[in-house]
């Protein structure tokens, strides 16, 4: 059974969004995503200052099974990238909710409305 965290927003492409303050959010991949991927060996992330846009690819996660695109759940400017993942991509397997990928300043906070809540996401991955 995949772990879920309440209060996060979820995308159908298995990313989560955690609102912080002032329209700033953290973005990561869900527990379901990491368990489907298997052991993650490489994470390819964009650079700080770039923008991502909702439903467009922004990077990739590679596991022993396959390489998967990361799809942006929201639109905004990248404030921070979790550099720890470059050296230790396995952190995504250990705790996918603690080990975020990007910190992003939202361009349009209303976009969060397009995402699923934890109950809807639980139903979606059933």
């Amino acid at each position: 059974m995949s772990k879920l965290v309440e209060g996060l927003y979820y995308s159908k492409s298995h990313e989560w969004v955690k609102p912080l303050e002032d329209d700033v959010v953290l973005i990561g991949i869900t527990d379901f995503a990491q368990s489907e991927l298997g052991d993650v060996v490489f994470v390819d992330l964009p650079e700080v200052g770039n923008t991502i846009s909702q439903e467009d690819e922004f990077g990739a996660v590679e596991s022993v099974k396959a390489a998967s695109d990361l799809i942006a759940p929201v639109t905004g400017e990248i404030l921070e990238v979790n550099e720890e993942l470059v050296g230790e991509p396995e952190l995504l397997n250990k705790d996918p909710y603690e080990n975020w990928l990007l910190k992003v300043k939202l361009e349009n906070p209303d976009e969060l409305g397009n995402l699923l809540n934890s109950e809807e996401y639980a139903e979606f991955i059933k």
Partner: protein
């Protein structure tokens, strides 16, 4: 000697020599005259070993290997059929083996005849006008085929067409070749039957589409029933159709890509036409095209005038894409295979390959999750066990098969199903072997329920147990030099 675990470099003993060279015929050559920037600066680090050292080393490591000649090898999408020994007999014949590609044409008429005839056979089998046997492998063939498509559009002054449509079930080489060729990939989703979704296809058609790459049957082993409509839609939009010949075995002698409306294709001789496979082959990926596109095929080309075979460099667009004629001896093996079977028997290949896959599909679907019901073609894809209550994953099932003396199927491909197991038995296996495989797969399904720990630990009977794939993926050590560096850095 099951524990033999050495690299040949570790056998090296300075000054030991295992060869003798003929006397140099360059009497006036002085190595000191060599330009300084051509001289090697670092040590060569080649192993210094005796002939017997070499022989024992490779015999011992070959005992750890598993090939078609050891047992059942149902690696999906790879067509691991048995390669009849007569192919090797022909390829080791001195009359072929000792030829040089720059010999006068009049002295190699027989070799060119084989080459020319194989081009013609492949044309007849595939329904395409002309073939080049030059590409060295399937992915190389894809690249050359895409270069032909690009050349065709640019020759007409159409520089806008730069996108290739590829279904999400495609072999990974398709998007890779497209990018290498400098074009853009448009991925379209499959429908719930595992086939190309016509509406998704229509939605991406425009005047910047160069073409579409398609495998038929696709990687799920499913025939694209709408193929004639697909090729028509793409043609009407001005694009060309590329046939990825990786799965041609299913259709051999039954259906021809040319008749389905494809304009360009490659054939993996090392799959469908029983030539060496795996471990680098060498493979061969001939490219076939329609008459309109034939002028774009690469050089050199082998042609025939009356009874005389000759070589011409008349290709207008690509120039040469290989050293000389590609892997000639591989082409010779494929030619031998075709001539050995003959037209009548060649027609049976696809039928038996398909029958075997469906036999397995039907026998295993009580224990394994068959996501696309109904008939398959030459291969069948399961999505893990039916019993989803165990922690046993596809990887564990694959590893356990090794303990039973069978090679694992392809796993985790295609990506459409998270626990994909892709089984391709080929036509060369007996019913007894296939029955044994089915029994083993059922045994494993029972083990998964009753003793899952056995599967989690598997394999336990192979020379090398379960490998650390994460470490292997993160620490890429490809040479002894890299290995020494790794050991030194580790301290």
């Amino acid at each position: 000697m099951i524990n033999y675990n050495k690299m040949i470099f570790e056998l090296s003993n300075e000054g030991r020599v295992g060869y003798s060279l003929p006397r140099s015929s360059f009497n006036n050559y002085n190595i000191d005259d060599l330009n300084d920037n051509l001289k090697r600066k670092s040590e060569l680090l080649l192993p210094e070993v005796s002939e017997l050292d070499v022989l024992r080393h490779f015999t011992n490591i070959s005992n750890k290997n598993f090939g078609v000649e050891n047992g059942f090898y149902p690696l999906g999408s790879c067509t691991m059929k048995y390669n009849p020994k007569i192919n090797e007999e022909m390829a080791s014949n001195k009359a072929f083996r000792n030829l040089h590609p720059l010999q006068p044409i009049s002295t190699v008429q027989g070799a060119l005849e084989v080459y020319y005839n194989l081009q013609k056979y492949l044309s007849e089998i595939s329904g395409l006008y002309e073939f080049s046997l030059n590409p060295f492998a399937g992915a190389h063939g894809e690249l050359v085929g895409l270069m032909v498509i690009k050349a065709y559009h640019q020759d007409r002054g159409d520089f806008k067409r730069n996108k290739i449509i590829i279904p999400d079930s495609a072999h990974g080489t398709n998007p890779a070749s497209t990018v290498v060729c400098g074009m853009e990939v448009i991925e379209i989703k499959s429908n719930d039957k595992g086939r190309v979704d016509l509406e998704s296809l229509k939605a991406v058609l425009s005047d910047d589409i160069a073409g579409m790459m398609l495998t038929n049957p696709n990687t799920l082993g499913i025939f694209e029933n709408d193929i004639c409509e697909i090729t028509k839609l793409v043609h009407d939009a001005g694009g060309l159709m590329y046939y990825d010949g990786a799965n041609l075995n299913a259709l051999l002698g039954k259906v021809r890509p040319g008749d389905m409306g494809f304009d360009v294709m490659h054939i993996n001789l090392h799959k469908t036409f029983s030539t060496p496979h795996g471990g680098g082959g060498p493979g061969s990926g001939p490219v076939g095209v329609t008459e309109i596109l034939s002028k774009y095929l690469p050089n050199p080309r082998v042609k025939k005038l009356d009874d005389y075979f000759y070589v011409e460099n008349s290709g207008e667009a690509l120039g040469q894409i290989s050293a000389y004629f590609g892997n000639y001896l591989v082409a010779l093996r494929a030619y031998t295979y075709i001539r050995t079977l003959g037209k009548e028997n060649l027609k049976m290949v696809g039928r038996y390959a398909t029958l075997n896959a469906n036999y397995i599909s039907k026998a295993l679907k009580t224990a394994y999750d068959l996501p696309i019901p109904g008939y398959c073609m030459h291969e069948v894809v399961f999505n893990g066990l039916n019993n989803k209550d165990t922690d046993v994953k596809t990887l564990d099932i694959a590893k356990r098969l090794l303990d039973y003396g069978m090679h694992a199927p392809t796993i985790y491909f295609p990506l459409l199903f998270p626990q994909a197991i892709m089984i391709e038995p080929t036509e060369t296996e007996t019913k007894e072997t296939i029955d044994e495989f089915i029994n083993v797969m059922h045994k494993i399904a029972i083990e998964a329920k009753e003793h899952p720990e056995i599967l989690k630990q598997a394999p336990t009977k192979t020379p090398i147990r379960r490998t650390d794939e994460v470490f292997a993926a993160k620490m890429m050590i490809f040479s002894y030099k890299d290995y020494l560096e790794y050991i030194n850095n580790r301290g």
